[in-house]
């Protein structure tokens, strides 16, 4: 792997093998359009990965040591407990800012973060509590941020949709869909210029894949052979819209394929399997192998924003669909596998969850008491590097 991949046109062409036999070779390559011949233009779909009737068995945890899995479980339970508490705070009116919960999607960032260090550069979007917490982001600071308090990870200036924790490698999340994708590519460019082995990670959703900038970013990362892992958390929805209402296929990895980027489409509710693939991709990036694209299929148990389930949107979202997806619960499947292998006794997971919840409740309670930012923050942070008088206002 020392020399990196050959991403020149010639290099890519060489990989194709016998091009002379390809339909692309001999023009005019007449390809009549029409349903009779559509198979050759077809794009791949998720098939059973999008069907909650499948992939809900206990995980295959062969090769994973006990304590590693305990770590995974702890992080997943932490994310879930924090988000459930946040949902309650929304319902009680304590939290006002928009809160996008990723309950049900916990496995993906936990699996990816397992391979990361604080020198890496992770970027999220509007639904990023899990991305932050999976890296070890501070729980109290997260609550404080969502509540707009000065102790928040963004000093109370951003709320749920603007998280920042460089001490664990979390370099920022913002809610303009797809906006951090090119930013992560730039962080990867910086890592490459550093000549170290840091990588960048870009989390985004299936909806984000509809923004043109994602495609520009894939091309740039591929062309420049940058160490970035694109993680598409495909939960089949963008707000109220089912993916089938938005795209001709329910799998986005075809865009990586189009850009010559190695990719995999996996069960994102399998923390062990996701960690395995993510690990290979991150290792490749660290070793000069360039970008990869991980499409992790998952499902959010709650609605687009807030704790509601949003069973009134899309074309298939319903109480029944949500219940079916809960049988592909990433937490329960890991617990089942660990219990059946004898890694954990029957009441251990419950005890772990209780302890986590206690700690989470304590963090939330403290955050509710924390002070708001000073009024001066409003103007002083506009030009944060060097406070400069700005105009306007009263």
């Amino acid at each position: 792997m020392a020399s990196g991949r050959d991403t020149t046109v010639k290099g890519l062409q060489a990989k194709l093998g016998n091009l002379a036999e390809s339909e692309y070779f001999t023009p005019p390559a007449t390809k009549p359009a029409g349903p009779e011949n559509d198979a050759e233009y077809a794009v791949k779909g998720l098939d059973s990965l999008a069907d909650p009737a499948f992939h809900n068995a206990p995980l295959d945890i062969t090769d994973w040591p006990h304590d590693r899995l305990r770590g995974f479980l702890h992080r997943m339970l932490t994310i879930r407990a924090v988000e459930e508490r946040l949902g309650e705070l929304v319902e009680s009116g304590d939290v006002v800012c928009p809160v996008h919960l990723a309950i049900g999607q916990e496995a993906i960032p936990v699996a990816v973060s397992h391979h990361l260090t604080p020198a890496d550069r992770v970027f999220g979007a509007h639904r990023s509590h899990g991305h932050y917490l999976a890296l070890g982001g501070d729980i109290y600071q997260l609550f404080a941020e969502v509540l707009g308090r000065a102790d928040g990870c963004s000093r109370g200036m951003g709320g749920s949709m603007h998280l920042f924790a460089p001490e664990v490698g979390f370099m920022g999340s913002v809610p303009i869909v797809a906006a951090t994708v090119p930013v992560a590519v730039g962080a990867a460019l910086a890592a490459k210029m550093d000549k170290g082995d840091a990588v960048a990670v870009s989390y985004f959703g299936d909806g984000a894949a509809e923004e043109g900038v994602v495609h520009e970013s894939l091309n740039l990362a591929s062309q420049m052979n940058l160490p970035v892992l694109f993680v598409c958390e495909n939960n089949l929805y963008a707000s109220h819209m089912d993916i089938s209402q938005r795209q001709p296929s329910d799998s986005t990895a075809r865009f990586a394929q189009a850009n010559g980027i190695p990719h995999a489409v996996i069960d994102g509710n399998d923390v062990a399997g996701t960690a395995r693939v993510a690990g290979e991709m991150i290792t490749a990036a660290r070793n000069g192998g360039g970008p990869s694209y991980l499409e992790a299929v998952t499902y959010r148990w709650r609605g687009h924003v807030g704790p509601d389930e949003n069973t009134d949107v899309g074309i298939r979202r319903s109480t029944a669909e949500i219940a079916a997806w809960k049988r592909r619960d990433p937490v329960a499947r890991l617990v089942a596998a660990m219990t059946s292998r004898g890694d954990m006794s029957g009441n251990e997971p419950g005890a772990m969850a209780d302890a986590i919840r206690d700690h989470v409740d304590d963090c939330a309670a403290r955050a509710l008491e924390a002070p708001y930012p000073e009024n001066s923050a409003l103007m002083d942070l506009v030009y944060a590097g060097s406070p400069t008088p700005a105009s306007g206002g009263r």
């Binding site: 109370g156 709320g159 303009i176 043109g212 707000s239 949107v313 708001y372 306007g392 206002g393 009263r394």
Partner: protein, 337 residues
């Protein structure tokens, strides 16, 4: 914050601003078969407030089209349809998201007629919603009307009343030129008695006096107009007679009415809930200063705007950020000395 207008909610026979918008769509889609709506959230029960509820069910998903998360292509597609005889309305549920579509609005829609010699008619309406407050923060709170008013060829409309919300939307869609129609969710509950629909010619619409007064001219557009109206009521109780001018159309802008008013009152406060530097309030002050002899001013012109800072999320900072009726009153009194 003045986020709630419940105090002036719908009375008997009154129509809200949000309902006015929905009525306009209902009218346009019923009476004009070449009109259609496209944008994010049109099949959602909550995305665009109550302004488009169930229109997809009433008129079909072929004429009320929800889209992928692709602001630029969807805006371009609406432009393309408008060049072929349609009158599309492309909806951006937040002005912030619409920035992805800047090229199609500013480089394309606004310029096609001029640069193709007036031979083509980009009769597209772009509806941008100002959706701010609620601790949504810097990327979900922008009011960039001054930006778009800066662009020749793009008509920019900002209704402040329920009647205008309805009638100016219809006028925008019936206009043969590209129009940016900007509504503000903080006005959705504002209500009025609305007359029957008549199709107005947008090119004939301009500023309007909403309150007559002699001591000072308050100028606003959209939500800022509402602030001015409330402030005028309060000022009246303090013996100050304030005239309120609602701009309504901010590009091309017709300064005549404001100039006439200030010529009479000798005092002006321009209120805007956008930013100050190179903003709309400054434009008003500049136009007035250019047109009126210095000796006719009884005091220095003044403007009240957002502070030049991104929108914060934290509750006390958000309260500090948005101008209130009280701020308008205080500033108006200081202009009065």
């Amino acid at each position: 914050m003045d986020g709630s207008l419940a105090s002036i909610g719908a009375g008997l026979g009154q129509t809200s601003y949000a309902q006015g918008i929905r009525d306009a769509f209902q009218y346009l889609l019923s009476t004009h078969s070449n009109c259609f709506a496209i944008g994010q959230g049109l099949w959602s029960p909550w995305y665009v407030g109550a302004t488009m509820d169930d229109l997809d069910k009433e008129f079909g998903k072929d004429r009320v089209i929800d889209t992928p998360v692709s602001e630029l292509a969807c805006t371009g597609a609406a432009l393309g349809a408008s060049l072929c005889g349609y009158r599309p309305v492309v909806i951006h549920p937040r002005m912030d998201f619409m920035l992805m579509a800047t090229d199609q609005i500013v480089n394309q829609a606004a310029k096609w007629a001029h640069m193709l010699g007036g031979r083509t008619s980009p009769a597209i309406t772009i509806r941008a919603i100002i959706n701010r407050g609620g601790e949504q923060g810097a990327q979900h709170s922008q009011a960039l009307h001054a930006w778009f008013a800066h662009i020749p060829g793009l008509r920019v409309v900002m209704p402040a009343t329920a009647a205008d919300a309805r009638d100016l939307l219809i006028a925008s869609v019936m206009c043969d030129e590209p129009v940016l129609y900007i509504d503000n969710r903080w006005l959705y509950e504002r209500s009025d008695h609305l007359g029957d629909i008549t199709e107005l010619r947008l090119e004939d619409q301009g500023p309007r006096v909403l309150r007559k007064g002699d001591d000072i001219t308050l100028v606003g557009s959209g939500y800022a107009t509402w602030l001015c109206e409330q402030a005028a009521d309060e000022l009246a109780t303090q013996g100050v007679s304030a005239e309120v001018v609602d701009l309504r159309v901010i590009n091309p802008i017709d300064h005549g009415l404001v100039i006439a008013s200030v010529t009479r009152t000798g005092r002006i406060l321009a209120v805007d809930d956008g930013w100050q530097n190179c903003g709309l309030a400054g434009e008003i002050l500049a136009a007035v200063a250019e047109a009126i002899e210095p000796s006719s001013f009884k005091s220095r012109p003044s403007r009240l705007t957002l502070p030049d800072a991104p929108a914060p999320t934290s509750k006390p900072l958000e309260a500090l950020y948005y101008p209130t009726v009280a701020d308008v009153v205080t500033r108006a009194l200081s202009v009065m000395r």
